[in-house]
Amino acid sequence: MGVLSILIFLPLVATLLILTLPSSAKATYKYIALGFTFLQFGLSLYLYGNFDATLGGIQQLDAYQFVEQLSWIRMDLGAIGKLEIDYLIGVDGISLPLIVLSTLVMLMGVGASWNIDKNPKGYFALLMILNTAVMGIFSALDFFLFYVFYEVMLLPLYFLIGIWGGERREYAAIKFFIYTLLGSVLMLLVIVGLYFSVINPVTGAHTFNMLHMMNPANYVDGSFFAYITNYHEVFGIPARLIGFIVLFFAFAIKVPIVPLHTWLPDAHVEAPTPVSIILAGILLKVGGYGIIRVCYSIFPDIAAYTNWWLALIGVISILYGALNALAQKDLKRMIAYSSVSHMGFVLLGIASLTAEGLSGAMFQMVSHGFLSAALFFLVGVLYDRVHDRYIYNFRGLASLMPKYTAYVAIAFFASLGLPGFSAFIGEAFVIIGAFNAESMSTGVPRWMAIGGSIGILLSAAYFLWTLQRMFFGQTRLKGGQAWQEALTDLNIREQVILFPALALALLLGIMPSLVFGNLNASVLQLIELIKP
């Protein structure tokens, strides 16, 4: 069992431990969860430190690192042939930064769960199952395995939102579940189609191996998703385009793009703080990761063909999300919409098909990961104290909670793309990539880059305006004296959680090479694969 497997299945051990301990030991659950996630964080840092940045990965198995391959399911299905499913995991420059990010955000999530007192056993058990699923998604290289982890992720989230959520939690939980499941069952059909179109060159059997699916030579001539000689059409649309659209649809729901984003504000508003942190910090990245790993790598031809539309969707998401954030009166909803806007940059960067744009998109994912986690945590701090997060119910918080205000200000400035912070690097690279795209003739026009820049401007507007409305001026609170007493400043635990995230934002803003160094080879490899 390799390091990567240990990283994936450690939380499952924690789940079993939590489930077997009697309820009398319920005070220990959070320590178990914390211990295991901390261990995971250490392991992921170990992986990051020992990563060979010269290897690209993407479609070459020998360029992946920490690879483990076990034959998992072999079934003889008679006329259909042999079912070949492997337990195949490994990391490259695309997945590793996201794994490190996930362990960090998971750590923040567990830290934010410290005060959960409603059925902690179920809560931490589900959280750890979710943790396993997330790690699995980012490491799986077999499509079947990927799909299993992808679906397993949904169940704990449904219950985490549904049981520990706010007032309209039932609605939010089922809406989230339905949206994602809708995308993923259609994805299943494409997986089946790909399975029949691809042959493992070594064994000659059909395979679920994603890396084999990325190699045009492995496609069977005349099969449904065949590369060159493909006459399959559905209602006049070529089969490969359909496959790409379906997969993109599945992941775009997760990103989320406008107009498939409507589950996100609901889920965020109703979810408890730690789940919001994990949703924004990790799960949105699953969408971006899926687009790179699955849509773009398996359908590179279609990726080059459709990137104008994808970039357009990205720009629309940036602007629509930002304008919506401006209009929100609920702080958490505002941050949820700012997520939509920031994830739009990821899509724009990916669709630009330039090295700058793709690296920027990856960087933006990492940066948005811990920054949005910090933002949602900050909202949670306020909500914990007075159970309200309506922007207009607060005024002049700065004099009441100076430390809190400082953290909020830093987080806001970092998120709006102030130079020196990580979000700036990500967004700047995306926009540079989108600008260069025209000269590289990848099909993304310059005005889209300008659209992205306007998005940055808008994000400055909504963040600064919120800062002004809530924190500056005369202290005026809706709850009066009771609120004034309840609104104590940040305690040590909260600072311990927040400080690393914001420090990291600064660190990566100054030394972006910490991330770029490891993902560069993979990004170049991907561009090489797509050849726009």
Partner: protein, 488 residues
């Protein structure tokens, strides 16, 4: 035909080894009648014991038969891998149903076991024949036994009404089927639907008559499988029958019928003539409609047994899809059947346990129960997840295999209708999420307004069986090849 009597006798005697499991069932049936009449008063559970012994012996002979294939009784009896495995599944699930009955209805239950054995025999006949006469006898045996089972424990008007509805609907369907069979016989002169003569007859016959005959025959099978539009009986009957009997109805009769239908469809769809095309279109349309109707109607149900009735209609649609793609390899068809049986048995045991606690099968009565019975509802949720077809459960693998096989048919034929079939199959699993997840929704997400029920003595044996089944669901979901090893 001039076959002398000694020849016939020789053949019958030669066929006996192929018939051992069924002979055991017949003997067990008679023994059970006697024990129920004479021994039950003195020695409680004697009939149950006799029934279990019969089933175990039958199981033993079946395992013995695993390596044999052949036909007996002048080609009326067909033993191949498919039939043997199907019968293994039937006997195993009958074992569980028998325990279910014994645990739940411990009083005045003597005759129920003999009827159960008779139904099992009927199922065996259905799954190991390609002869219409045998098939009809099989269907009638199962039907009549089911009528009695549904009415056997009836205590109130609803239950009697359910039984009555079942009898009326069933008899009409059987009559229609018989009429269709008479037409088929008239057209072909041969009752073995796999024989060349039979197919030749169908090729030559006029289209109008064929359409009528085929649809009539499908009506009879449709009643047993409860696909649309012959499904209307099942919600009422499922709801009205005692839960143990519902568990029986939703699983075992379907196995035999689906095996028969698979054989029938395989031979009838193999030509390029009108009747093949008709069967293909029929099964495609019916599968799509059945999945849609079953899952959409289930959305509105508030009673869990009624909901499961529609759910099983939806699963019938997927089973039809498996039949549609059935060619020579039967493994995924059997896989789906096994998965379906395990999931349904577990579900009904859970429903029954909860019915004992709350005296209701309404979904509303589950509100807040998750806190009181976390173990049961966690297992129940896992079963629901499997019924939807989400990994890592056996329901997902089963669904994936059906999709895979259907896709291979699509790729070779390019018929857009098949793609529609696939898409509907995928979308209905999203729809099914809504109603299956009502169970955890009420149990975990809602709070109960009422004070806690007093805990009643619930059957530990049944619970253990249900938990074991749940464990199998996960285990086979992660390692499906273990089950495939058993199936090959």
């Amino acid at each position: 035909m001039n076959i002398s009597i000694p020849n016939i006798l020789d053949q019958i005697i030669a066929s006996i080894p192929l018939f051992k499991p069924e002979l055991t069932l017949i003997i067990g049936f008679i023994v059970c009648i006697f024990t129920a009449l004479f021994m039950e008063k003195r020695w409680k559970n004697s009939t149950f014991t006799a029934c279990m012994v019969t089933l175990v012996f039958s199981l033993y002979y079946l395992v013995d038969q695993l390596s044999t294939t052949g036909t007996g009784f002048s080609g009326m009896w067909l033993v191949d891998m498919l039939s043997t495995y199907a019968r293994l599944v039937i006997i195993s699930s009958t074992l569980i149903i028998a325990i279910f009955l014994q645990q739940r209805h411990s009083k005045n239950n003597g005759d129920v076991y003999s009827i159960l054995l008779a139904a099992t025999l009927g199922m065996h006949v259905l799954s190991s024949t390609s002869h219409w006469l045998m098939a009809f006898i099989g269907i009638e045996m199962v039907s009549i036994a089911s009528y009695i089972l549904v009415g056997y424990f009836s205590q109130n008007k609803i239950q009697s009404e359910a039984a009555m509805k079942y009898v009326l609907f069933g008899s009409v369907c059987a009559a229609v089927m018989l009429y269709g069979l008479s037409l088929v016989y008239g057209l072909t002169g041969n009752l073995d639907f796999q024989s060349a003569e039979h197919l030749q007859g169908l090729m030559d016959a006029p289209e109008a008559v064929i359409t009528l005959a085929l649809l009539f025959v499908f009506a009879g099978i449709g009643f047993k499988l409860s696909f649309v539009p012959f499904h209307v009986w099942s919600p009422d009957v499922y709801q009205g029958a005692p839960t143990a009997i519902t568990a029986f109805l939703s699983t075992i009769p379907k196995i035999g019928a689906i095996i028969l239908f698979a054989r029938l469809y395989q031979s009838w769809s193999s030509t390029a003539f009108y009747f093949s095309e008709l069967s293909t279109w029929f099964i495609m349309v019916v599968a799509i409609v059945t999945m849609l109707v079953g899952n959409l109607a289930a959305l509105r149900q508030q009673d869990v047994k009624r909901m499961m009735a529609y759910s099983s209609i939806g699963h019938t649609g997927l089973l039809l899809m498996a039949v549609f793609a059935y060619q020579d390899a039967f493994s995924y068809l059997l896989f789906y059947i096994v998965a379906y049986v395990i999931m349904n048995l577990a579900t009904f045991i859970f429903i029954d346990q909860l019915e004992q606690q709350t005296e209701s099968t309404s979904l509303l009565s589950y509100a807040g129960m998750g806190k009181k019975m976390p173990m049961l509802f966690t297992a129940f949720t896992l079963v629901a997840v499997s019924l939807i077809g989400i990994p890592p459960t056996v329901g997902f693998v089963a669904k994936l295999m059906v999709f895979t096989s259907t896709f291979s048919v699509f790729q070779s034929s390019g018929n857009t209708g098949i793609l529609l079939l696939l898409v509907v199959g995928a979308l209905t699993s999203v729809i099914s999420l809504f109603f299956y997840f009502k169970i955890p929704l009420y149990a975990f997400l809602r709070d109960s307004g009422k004070e806690s029920y007093e805990r009643k003595r619930s059957s530990v044996v049944l619970l253990i069986i249900a938990y074991l089944l749940t464990a199998t669901i996960i285990l086979f979901g992660i390692f499906p090849n273990w089950m495939m090893l058993m199936l090959s």
